[in-house]
Amino acid sequence: MTVFEPRIVGFLCGWCAYEGADAAGRARKTYPAHLRIVRVLCSGRVDPQFVLEAFRQGADGVMILGCHPGECHYKEGNLQALKMTAILKKLLGQCGIQEERLRLDWVAAGEYGKLVKIVGEMVEKVKSLGPLRLREDGGGINSALTRH
C-alpha cells in the first residue's frame, strides 16, 4: 500500500506570508514538501475560483496565508479573504469537502516559525483526512467528445 502524500496549494501574500516562507528558507527551517506556493499580491486577491480550481486540479488541501488583520499592505485586502473564507468553508462542507481542507491564517514576514508550524499541522490534518476525490464526469458510454 502506498503512503498518502497529500498535495497542498498555498496562496501566500507577497508582503507577509511569502516573505515568511522565504525567511524560513534563509533560516533553513525544514517543513514538509507537500506545500506548493502561489504568490499573490494580497490574500484578498484569492478568488474562490482559485481555491476550487486547486481542489479540482488535485489539491487535497488549500492554505490562504495573509497579513495579520490591521497590517494588510493594502489596508483591508486580508479582510476580504476572511469574509470570503467564512462562506466558502460552508459551501465546501455542502460539497463533501471537510472544512479543514481549507485553512486561512495570518503570517507576518518575520513569523517563519509560525509558517513552519502551521504547514506541518496542515499536512498532518490533510493526511488524516485522506485523499480528496472530487466528483468526476464518469458514467458515460464514451467520455471522448464527438462532434459528428
Partner: protein, 338 residues
C-alpha cells in the same frame, strides 16, 4: 432580429431540417418553443421538423436513418443523466450541422444538476422509498436489482453524475435561461435559418451581468455593507429598489443579462439561470465572493452570523450551474472516507 416574413424567400428550394430533443429537464424549455405562438407556425412553414418528441411522432430510427449532417440544427434541452439521453445526444450530434444547447439544463446542468449534491443510490432511495407522499409498500425501484431476481434492471442507464450537454458532445452555441425567453429561442432559430452561425461557444444574451439591464439599477448603492441577509418573507421590501440594497440576496451581479429581468419585473430577485459571464469559470464561486464582500464586519462571530444568513449557499449559488461548476457537485463520500 429579422422579420419572419422574410424567411419565405430565404427558404425557397429545400427546407432546412430541424430537430428538437428533450433530455433531463422539466419541459419548460419545450414551453418556451410553444410560447413563440403564431411565429412558431411561420417557422414550421419554412422548415422541416424531423424530430420533436414533445409534438411529433418521430422515432429514434427515423433520425438514425438520416445521413450524417443532414439535419441543419438540433435544439437539445435538458441535462444528460441517463444512458439513452447520451445516446440521443450523440446521434443528433452526428446527424446535425449545428447542435444548440437549449435552456439552463443543457447549458449548465440546470436545476436537475442539483442532484449532484447526492449520490445516485440516495436519490433513488429517496424517490422510490422515502418520499412521504408516495405509498409504495413493495419498494420497487426501476433501477437496480429486479424484485424477481431477474438481475439488474436499468442500472446501467442511470449515471452517477448529471452532466451539461457539452460534457458529452460538442455544442455550437447556447440559448440560456430557465426557461429561455421565447425571444431568445427565436433569435437562435433565426441564426440557423439565416445561416448566421455565431462563434463557437457563443451564449446568447448579453455580455454583461443582469444589473446592467435591471429596472432597479437606479437604487444601486456605491457602498453596501450588510450585517446579514434577509429572506423575502422576513422583511417588507420596496418593490422598486435593488434587492441587494435591501439585504435580500440577488444573483444579478454574477448572472448573464439578456432575460429582460423577468424575475425582477415579477418582484423576485435573480437566481442565476442565465449562468456566468464569459470570463467566469464558476458562477457559484463568483456569487460567493461578491456576496462575501458585502459583509459589514471582520469579526469572526459577525462573519459566522453573516454566513449563517445564507442557509444553503450551495443550492443558492449553484441553483442552475452545479453540474458545470468546478466541483461538479458533492465529492464522493465513500472514496473520501477511506
Amino acid at each position: 432580429m429579422s422579420d419572419l416574413s422574410q424567411l419565405k424567400t430565404l427558404s425557397r428550394g429545400k427546407k432546412p431540417k430541424i430537430a428538437l430533443c428533450w433530455c433531463s429537464s422539466c419541459g419548460g424549455c419545450e414551453e418556451s418553443v410553444f410560447d413563440l405562438a403564431e411565429e412558431l407556425v411561420d417557422i414550421m412553414a419554412v422548415t422541416d421538423i424531423v424530430f420533436w418528441p414533445a409534438a411529433l411522432d418521430a422515432k429514434y430510427q427515423d433520425v438514425a436513418a438520416l445521413a450524417d449532417g443532414e439535419i441543419t440544427a438540433t435544439l437539445v434541452n435538458g441535462a444528460i443523466r441517463m444512458e439513452h439521453q447520451e445516446e440521443m445526444a450523440r446521434l443528433l450530434r452526428r446527424k446535425s450541422q449545428w447542435l444548440i444547447a437549449h435552456g439552463a439544463c443543457a447549458h449548465l446542468g440546470g436545476v436537475v444538476g442539483l442532484a449532484n449534491f447526492h449520490g445516485s443510490a440516495d436519490l433513488l432511495n429517496r424517490a422510490y422509498q422515502e418520499i412521504p407522499t408516495v405509498h409504495h409498500p413493495a419498494g420497487i425501484c426501476p433501477f437496480g436489482e429486479a424484485p424477481d431476481g431477474a438481475g439488474q434492471v436499468g442500472k446501467r442507464g442511470f449515471y452517477e453524475t448529471v452532466l451539461p450537454l457539452n460534457r458529452m458532445v460538442a455544442v455550437d452555441f447556447y440559448i440560456p435561461g430557465c426557461p429561455p425567453p421565447p425571444e431568445l429561442v427565436k433569435e437562435g432559430l433565426m441564426m440557423v435559418l439565416e445561416q448566421r452561425l455565431p462563434p463557437a461557444g457563443t451564449i446568447l444574451g448579453k455580455r454583461q451581468a443582469l444589473c446592467q439591464s435591471c429596472p432597479r439599477r437606479g437604487s444601486l448603492p456605491e457602498t453596501l455593507r450588510l450585517k446579514e441577509f434577509s429572506r423575502m418573507h422576513q422583511v417588507t421590501w420596496d418593490a422598486a429598489a435593488c434587492f441587494l440594497a435591501q439585504g435580500i440576496i440577488c444573483l444579478g451581479p454574477a448572472t448573464r443579462g439578456g432575460c429582460q429581468a423577468r424575475c425582477l419585473q415579477g418582484n423576485m430577485p435573480c437566481r442565476g439561470c442565465f449562468g456566468p459571464l464569459d470570463l467566469v469559470r464558476d458562477q457559484g464561486a463568483k456569487s460567493l465572493s461578491f456576496l462575501a464582500s458585502l459583509a459589514d464586519s471582520a469579526d469572526p462571530e459577525d462573519l459566522q452570523r453573516f454566513a449563517d444568513s445564507i442557509p444553503d449557499p450551495g443550492g443558492l449559488f449553484y441553483q442552475f450551474s452545479l453540474a458545470a461548476s468546478l466541483l461538479k457537485g458533492k465529492a464522493d463520500d465513500q472514496k473520501n472516507n477511506h
